[in-house]
């Protein structure tokens, strides 16, 4: 299967070249080459087990955590391979933030959840730290709801608020690329709508890559879409093109709901 590569009109923020990932010798991702455009939302779609989460986790090296993961190929940011041995993981993850499927606020106050990153990475404290925290909470559209209870536990928030707290926590570290692994799948429809609006908003200033199993969501929030199946990139293009005029029959079948 050969991926349909349309050249993005925008500058590339992060790019995979022939990226393969195997767990315990079983291939989860097979030779994916994909350039993610800067300051745009890219959705990764595909049936369960197609490798979309694996691809996402390869972009900030979260797969390093899995003992028997083997990774080959390259992932380039500004032309530099993030799998190079000299790469500083802390620096990489400062640049490439991540939000998970299930909100995972730390068991500390709302303020501390957001402050932890900038304090540890940039040594901020006092007024400067407060400003960064407020700014991140505003960008995550959570500030108005929590500004009077910043000392409260992050776990006391609702699921949707927790997820926005996790987004704020990520933004406070000042990343350029935001990875989101099915960020709404554990949330109710209203919280989902809020997060979707937020993603659209963030897409103007950040490079956002969202894994989703919700096709309508991909259609609503993304500028570009990649469709994966059996660990391979089947098709990639502008979201309107993928959804209205898919080039490949597999994509069409999936989009039309014939499987998956």
């Amino acid at each position: 299967m050969i991926a349909t590569m349309t050249t993005p009109k925008q500058k590339t923020a992060i790019e995979t070249i022939d990226l393969s990932v195997a767990y315990n010798g079983k291939m989860a991702l097979k030779g994916v080459s994909l350039a993610f455009p800067e300051n745009a939302v890219t959705a990764l779609i595909g049936p369960s087990g197609c490798g979309k989460s694996t691809l996402l986790r390869a972009l900030n090296r979260m797969n390093d955590r899995i003992p028997d993961a083997e990774i080959s190929g390259r992932v380039l940011i500004d032309g530099k391979d993030i799998y190079d041995r000299r790469v500083n993981l802390t620096r990489l993850r400062r640049e490439v933030g991540m939000v998970f499927q299930k909100p995972n606020p730390f068991p500390m106050s709302i303020f501390e959840n957001v402050a932890l990153g900038p304090r540890l990475h940039y040594g901020l404290r006092g007024r400067a730290l407060q400003e960064v925290v407020e700014d991140a909470l505003r960008k995550a559209a959570l500030w108005d709801e929590v500004k009077d209870e910043l000392h409260k536990s992050g776990l006391a928030l609702s699921g949707g608020q927790q997820q926005r707290l996790c987004i704020a926590r990520m933004l406070a570290v000042q990343p350029r690329i935001l990875l989101m692994d099915e960020p709404c799948s554990a949330l109710d429809p209203i919280s989902t709508q809020k997060i979707e609006e937020l993603i659209t908003e963030l897409g103007t200033r950040y490079t956002v890559i969202v894994v989703t199993h919700n096709l309508q969501q991909a259609a609503r929030i993304s500028h570009y879409t990649g469709f994966l199946m059996y660990g391979e990139l089947v098709e990639w293009g502008e979201t309107t093109q993928i959804f209205e005029r898919p080039a490949r029959p597999e994509t069409e079948d999936y989009i039309r709901g014939r499987f998956g």
């Binding site: 979260m62 993850r93 730390f106 068991p107 932890l116 540890l120 776990l155 926590r169």
Partner: protein, 296 residues
């Protein structure tokens, strides 16, 4: 359709009978356990309570131990415990962190885990003799508070290591992922996220092992104890090199030499020791629930 209902009705009746039987059996066993513990405490309380007075709790023994109180023994027990707490907590927590962090990958760590588990089950008298051989004799600490601290520390550490490890393993992987994805180093993730999360569990382990240590006579038997002390308790550097009186040893010796210590004093000291450990545990529960209420 009707046959299915007949079949199901038979099973339902059987299930209900089984349920009632098992509920009764478990209830009875549970009740028996509670009653046993309650009876134990009640007997000691009834026999010991008349002896308890301010004088008994604070004064040293007088008139050949037939009068006065057990003040120095209480003080000595608390002193022994505090030292063990200060020394054993960092060692045990550090050990637990090592096992939890590196435990599964390396064979050496698996061996360490098995050894620590074995040590946690080692009888206290073995620690007592080890302490005698190493701290009292080899290191020339003599029978002293210092040797007692070291021995009790060894006694407490394995249990603290195991509970710390277990507490750290309850930290959700999602939290660790969250920390790492934020760019925190492994150490920062451990220190800032995993340890605070596991703290109530670690704390419980520390208190439980201290509670056990304060009630054991054998680790301090040859390393730190004197039978009684009539002197006013003074604290100073020399205290470190002197033996201390303590409640478990007082109980053991006092009971072994009938006629010297009045029986009511034994009951009173028994009750005091139980109260001390209960107090310790109650304090632990209080602090722990506060910790939990804060952010969990």
């Amino acid at each position: 359709m009707a046959e299915w209902e007949v079949l199901a009705a038979r099973r339902d009746a059987l299930r209900a009978r089984k349920n009632a039987l098992l509920t009764g059996a478990f209830g009875a066993v549970g009740l028996a356990t509670v009653l046993l513990v309650f009876a134990l405490v009640a007997i000691i309380a009834v026999n010991g309570a008349p002896t308890i007075s301010w004088e008994f709790l604070t004064q040293p023994p007088r008139e050949g131990m037939s009068a006065g109180g057990v003040g120095p023994m209480i003080f000595g027990s608390i002193l022994l415990m505090l030292g063990a707490f200060v020394m054993a907590t960092p060692l045990g927590v550090f050990g637990g962190v090592c096992l939890a962090e590196y435990g599964e990958r390396s064979r050496l760590m698996r061996l360490m885990h098995a050894s620590v588990a074995a040590l946690a089950g080692t009888p206290p008298i073995v620690y007592g003799l080890f302490g005698l051989a190493i701290f009292v004799l080899k290191f020339h600490f003599g029978v002293s508070l210092l040797a007692g601290w070291c021995t009790l520390t060894l006694f407490c550490v394995p249990a603290i290591v195991l509970t710390t490890e277990a507490a750290l393993k309850t930290v959700p992987a999602a939290l660790i992922d969250g920390g790492l994805a934020l760019g925190l180093s492994r150490w920062q993730t451990l220190w800032r996220i995993a340890l605070p999360y596991a703290l109530p569990g670690i704390f419980t382990g520390v208190i439980l092992s201290l509670g056990r240590a304060v009630g054991e006579a054998t680790p301090v038997l040859f390393t730190a104890s004197v039978y009684y002390s009539t002197a006013e308790t003074k604290l100073g550097w020399e205290t470190l090199r002197q033996p201390v009186a303590n409640l478990p040893y007082y109980l053991a010796e006092g009971y072994r030499q009938p006629g010297v210590v009045p029986e009511r004093f034994i009951w009173g000291a028994c009750l005091t020791l139980i109260m001390l450990t209960l107090l310790l545990n109650a304090g632990a529960i209080l602090i722990r629930s506060r910790m939990r209420r804060r952010y969990l």
